[in-house]
Symmetry: C2
Subunit: 283 residues, 2 copies
Amino acid sequence: MMQVIHAPAEMYNQTMLLKMSGKKVGFVPTMGYLHKGHLELLKFAREHCDSLVLSIFVNPTQFGPKEDYGSYPRDLERDKELAAHARVDTIFLPDVDSMYPPGYRTFVEVEELSKGLCGAFRPGHFRGVATIVCKLLNIVAPDEAFFGEKDAQQLVIIRKMAQDLNMPVKISGFPTVRDADGLAMSSRNVYLSDEEREQATGLYRALQNGRSLIEGGETEAARIDAAIREAIARDVPAGVVEYVDIVDGNTLAPVSRTIGKTLIALAVRVGKARLIDNIRVGG
Amino acid sequence: MMQVIHAPAEMYNQTMLLKMSGKKVGFVPTMGYLHKGHLELLKFAREHCDSLVLSIFVNPTQFGPKEDYGSYPRDLERDKELAAHARVDTIFLPDVDSMYPPGYRTFVEVEELSKGLCGAFRPGHFRGVATIVCKLLNIVAPDEAFFGEKDAQQLVIIRKMAQDLNMPVKISGFPTVRDADGLAMSSRNVYLSDEEREQATGLYRALQNGRSLIEGGETEAARIDAAIREAIARDVPAGVVEYVDIVDGNTLAPVSRTIGKTLIALAVRVGKARLIDNIRVGG
């Protein structure tokens, strides 16, 4: 029987009891409006723990003042059904006031890694992400926490935070889940019109094109970058590119030549949706 | 038999084993060069736990570039003897490279509370303090951690951090320990010449004077402030006042009238030593 916990203290106490009895606690933090990507992630997590916690919390501190915090899609009843079906044991569902009570003051910052890519276009975003994940990991106290690789920069930052702050948790990534046509699953895909949805499939093809170039021997980042932008301009005419970046897979620092483990990442606005995607090459 | 642990992972594993067997773990983090203030704090902590951990780590990230990180007094052999005498079970003694390995990037910031008092004169100091205490609390994973009230702003910030980040630990303060002549115990008192040491006793008398004024009915912060500064100018002629501040005991915001719980805090440079002290009134 799946239970729903609202109070942080109750959530923590439940984990302590489970750990005392030798159970391994797994954790998937989300902002809800679950899609197939979340469900695959939950399925993977389910196989790697004894008790599975899903959190649903649309975190205000990771949204900029002009971003979609207010309109971010929410459907709690549907999420509960999907979670039960995915054999989630506990949904942790805190309210904003219990996570950020009046007088809240503390933030976690992962320097350098938060500066480029999405960080350059969403000031304060990763400070909000690191802070809420730090809080959730302290409250849920899981043995292992699972994150999607679609949010590549987020995953690198969370791994770094957990390591730097000596948090006693294993952080695991899970490959991006895509629709049959290649579009990365995202709660924000709901913002797309049919025509935009169709064009948006060009983003992953552009990334695959970039990877093919590298695998075919191209090492000049500038040329790979240009080829990806050209493909987007051709196949996603409704798209406005925020960035296409070719960076070191670990440090997220831009590279001029793709020698080692490389991450190609992009953010493109298509209609009302800001879509991100990425692909890893080599290493 | 007191043991010394250097490796963070070993420290964490030890606490987990103790907690599994139902023991309560107490923790006193220090920068070493133990004095009577530390020893009284350890004695208090000893009475409130089953297994007592003392950490000794001179934390580089809380020192400014022109401060005394390099010359901060150290005497590990003496510390070990004093710790054994205080019935410490474990000394956690990490090295700088294990706490801040190359590529370290993550910092904890407690906003507002870190701005005034010492924060105004030591930029980045409380960011370093919050970060190392967050790390140490994750590594030692105590049930309760004990801090001296001499570092009043530090204690307020650490309490706030632990609460805001949902850290599963009780933070306890312990009254400032003073020499017979009133001077607050501090590792930095070793920097004082005999003459300076003698004058420095005037700081606590000035604070007591301020408290007497409030208890006698004075509520104008400006008048209390002036009286304290006058007393310091008279009794501590070698002193250079950094600040004398009259602030709200919880928010550390300056007050113009001393109505509720009030903190009077000061920092005064005497010779090579930067001395801090404080007194609480009302509430």
